[in-house]
């Protein structure tokens, strides 16, 4: 069974909003919106600062399936999945947001 490059899946828990995939994408088809939050932890003097991913989108109308984003993510938050059945009535339907990207099941 080949590792079919059908669609790219996101593992949101692994994403730190570092933006490396966004900057490396040759087609400019990835966007990441995020913000920082302070998290107090009992027993520690200072609160921790964590990144919170607000929205991650890939525009599959522009994507050329090069896989640079998958290769370059330091946290393996992006992975190839085999699905190919996601055509759309309109261009907007080709833009997948966090929820939709997280719904694709990566290859083993």
């Amino acid at each position: 069974m080949t590792t079919q490059h059908g669609v790219i899946a996101l593992i949101p828990q692994a994403c730190t909003s570092c933006m490396i995939c966004v900057r490396e994408c040759p087609s400019w088809c990835i966007t990441v919106d995020s913000h920082q939050e302070e998290v107090s932890e009992p027993g520690s003097r200072r609160p921790r600062t964590v990144s919170v991913l607000d929205n991650f989108t890939i525009d599959y109308g522009l994507c050329m399936y090069c896989g640079i984003c998958v290769d370059v993510c330091p946290f393996d938050a992006l992975a190839w999945a085999p699905d190919v059945d996601y055509s759309s009535d309109d261009r907007a339907g080709l833009v997948h947001d966090t929820e939709r990207l997280a719904g694709w099941v990566p290859h083993e």
């Binding site: 730190t16 909003s17 570092c18 933006m19 966004v22 900057r23 994408c25 400019w28 990835i30 966007t31 990441v32 919106d33 995020s34 913000h35 920082q36 600062t49 990144s51 919170v52 991913l53």
Partner: protein
């Protein structure tokens, strides 16, 4: 691979041709900034595995006088290679029998493959990579998409204030 002076270009290639390297494999340009480097590769198909069967040479064409003698009289195949190099790098090939553009539909506008020719769409379109990473840490230097020179970037288009 070696570099020859522009004045020796035709003579050197004539020498290769006379010694049996009759097949033009490639002629193209490389933008080196001040000069355009023209690279040519000629071969003898029967001797491809031998050092003497393949010759690759380059020459530098200065920006002030971007011309080079055409090789079409020696290698007819150079016709299309030179036409493409001409339209992409703005180099003129003296003596070319048919100096029309090959791929471009117009001869107007900056030669597309010179590094000074910036692809307008990439300057105008907002780059997703310019958005601040989580934490709002603004990098000291605004990140630029690859290939966009410093003075071409409209800083205000990518700042938060502008959106």
């Amino acid at each position: 691979m070696r570099t020859v002076d522009r004045v020796d270009w035709l003579e050197t290639l004539t020498g290769f041709h006379d010694s049996g390297l009759r097949y033009l494999d490639l002629l193209t340009g490389i933008d080196r900034g001040d000069d355009v480097e023209i690279l040519v590769r000629v071969v003898d198909p029967a001797r491809l595995a031998e050092p003497a069967g393949v010759e690759t040479i380059t020459t530098l064409v200065p920006a002030a006088d971007r011309r080079l003698p055409s090789l079409v009289s020696l290698y007819p195949a150079a016709s299309w290679h030179e036409r493409e190099t001409a339209e992409m790098f703005g180099v003129g090939f003296d003596g070319h029998p048919d100096p029309r553009p090959l791929l471009r539909r117009t001869a107007l506008g900056a030669p597309p493959l010179l590094k000074t020719t910036v692809l307008a769409a990439r300057v105008v379109a907002p780059w997703p990579g310019a958005a601040d990473p989580a934490g709002g840490r603004r990098p000291a230097r605004r990140p630029r998409p690859l290939g966009v020179p410093e003075d071409w970037l409209r800083e205000d288009w990518m700042s938060e204030e502008a959106t």
